[in-house]
Symmetry: C2
Subunit: 284 residues, 2 copies
């Protein structure tokens, strides 16, 4: 495995791979890798000739009051983990390498970015689109890998790929779950034993809403069932539970093919997110 | 030469060319081709294996009061001219083919778009960046060709290519001039005989300003010389004459490497634009 820190060095590798007609899998990360990232890398490994993982804490997606400076970083540990997952090239540039100039051109996410988790993070998804589009141009991937756990991020990037015709396939890797269905998260360790027993109700609620929606296409009814389940099975506080057309994140209509059910729930003081994306016709 | 109207058909051609390791030259146009476009196509022809010309009147770069509907279109004539200039593929999509969805994501040009010709066309360069980025992703060119005549457009696209790391080379094709130095333009036919004799003073003024700036690096002095030349040699009205760092379009400093001198002058009722871009160190 190679670790490159400059755009020039990465470009040499990408051009050689293109010359050799290799398929390229890109796994964009902010480092401090956990099991979710490694699942992305392993999935990429099984589908492509060359695996590029970017490790870059992108300042433009942090708000002024957010934790850009204190965001955890551990490149030596990350590179060891990346190698173990089959990554060929780690691209770990500095902020100056990624943003040497500022000509003032910006990508703005639309209404999609104003709801769900975006409501409390203005500008966050603009920064995500900026860095992701740069990484797409730099690594020129055949396939790019994102975790479904961050469903809104996935939806917004998928919209950019679609509407701006990026020549790549977006691969969305399913949420990894504990045995009881709780979505894996580094935040699960904050849960007390009692809270840990309640937390799987979030996923159960999403499944109930999905089944309800597939049976009668009634968004309000489906969401009511999910909310009732969380209210009766947990002491948690619902931040949001929404059912939206995917990837546009607008209300589902008769023409909607794919649906996102997304929830953010405080279990005690811990905010947990979960979601499911399914095809309305096939129920998948 | 092939004429394709769908993204799918274009993608088949591009993938075949990539597979065969062919270099691709892209010439984006809005059609109604004139000598300038053909010069771009011929330059592309001499530098690439496969030449793609897009012919698409892009609605998103027209303001609500501008002439999108009445913009001249003549695809049969354009395809004949394109073929004569050595184009291999004309990509002539419909508006619906280019914009089937709107997920609301937008590219916004920065301060660069608020000056010169952009001052009177808010949103124009945002639309240009939107369609150009789509065409870049669709045609995946090795090199993309633009005319220096539209210097502000070239500067803004060059900034996007630089700041968003598009994997292509931007080729800026010099302004084609009449014998007396007047920049060729379809608008030159509007000039009276007397005006036609005055019009070369615009280019002369730019050359004087360039020589002056190279001699003493004094922007105000260089512009004063150009303005005086136009005032004494023509009856024209200056819209603007500016000297700016290229491609950022900010005031030139001691660090500036490339300079744009741009002018828009009314000769009678005809608004003529002209410019020169030169390297401060080499004077080229």
């Amino acid at each position: 495995m190679k670790v490159v820190t400059t755009i020039q060095a990465l470009t040499v590798e990408i051009q050689a791979a293109k010359q050799a007609q290799k398929s390229i899998g890109l796994v964009p990360t902010m480092g401090y890798l956990h099991e979710g990232h490694l699942t992305l890398a392993k999935t990429a490994r099984s589908e492509n000739d060359l695996i590029v993982m970017s490790i870059f804490v992108n300042p433009t997606q942090f708000g002024p009051d957010e934790d850009f400076e204190s965001y955890p970083r551990d490149l030596p540990r990350d590179t060891a983990l990346a190698e173990s997952a089959g990554v060929d090239i780690v691209f770990a540039p500095s902020v100056e390498e990624m943003y040497p100039h500022d000509g003032g051109i910006r990508i703005h996410a639309g209404e999609q970015a104003t709801i769900l988790c975006g409501a409390s993070r203005p500008g966050h998804f603009d920064g995500v689109l900026q860095v992701v589009s740069k990484l797409f141009h730099l690594a020129q991937p055949t396939r790019a890998y994102f975790g479904q756990k961050d469903a809104q991020q996935v939806a917004i990037i998928a919209t950019m790929v679609r509407d701006f015709n990026f020549p790549l396939e977006m691969r969305v890797v399913p949420i990894v779950r504990e045995e009881e269905g709780l979505a894996k998260s580094s935040r699960n360790i904050y849960l007390s034993e009692a809270e840990r027993l309640e937390a799987p109700a979030i996923n159960e609620a999403l499944q109930l809403a999905r089944d309800s929606f597939l049976a009668n296409r009634d968004t309000a009814n489906a969401l009511a069932k999910a909310k009732a389940h969380i209210a009766t099975r947990t002491h948690g506080q619902i931040d949001y539970i929404e059912l939206l057309a995917y990837p546009d994140l607008i209300p589902a209509t008769a023409e909607t093919e794919q649906v996102l059910l997304a929830a953010a729930v405080y279990i005690g003081k811990t905010r947990l997110i979960d979601n499911c994306i399914f095809n309305v016709k096939e129920g998948l």
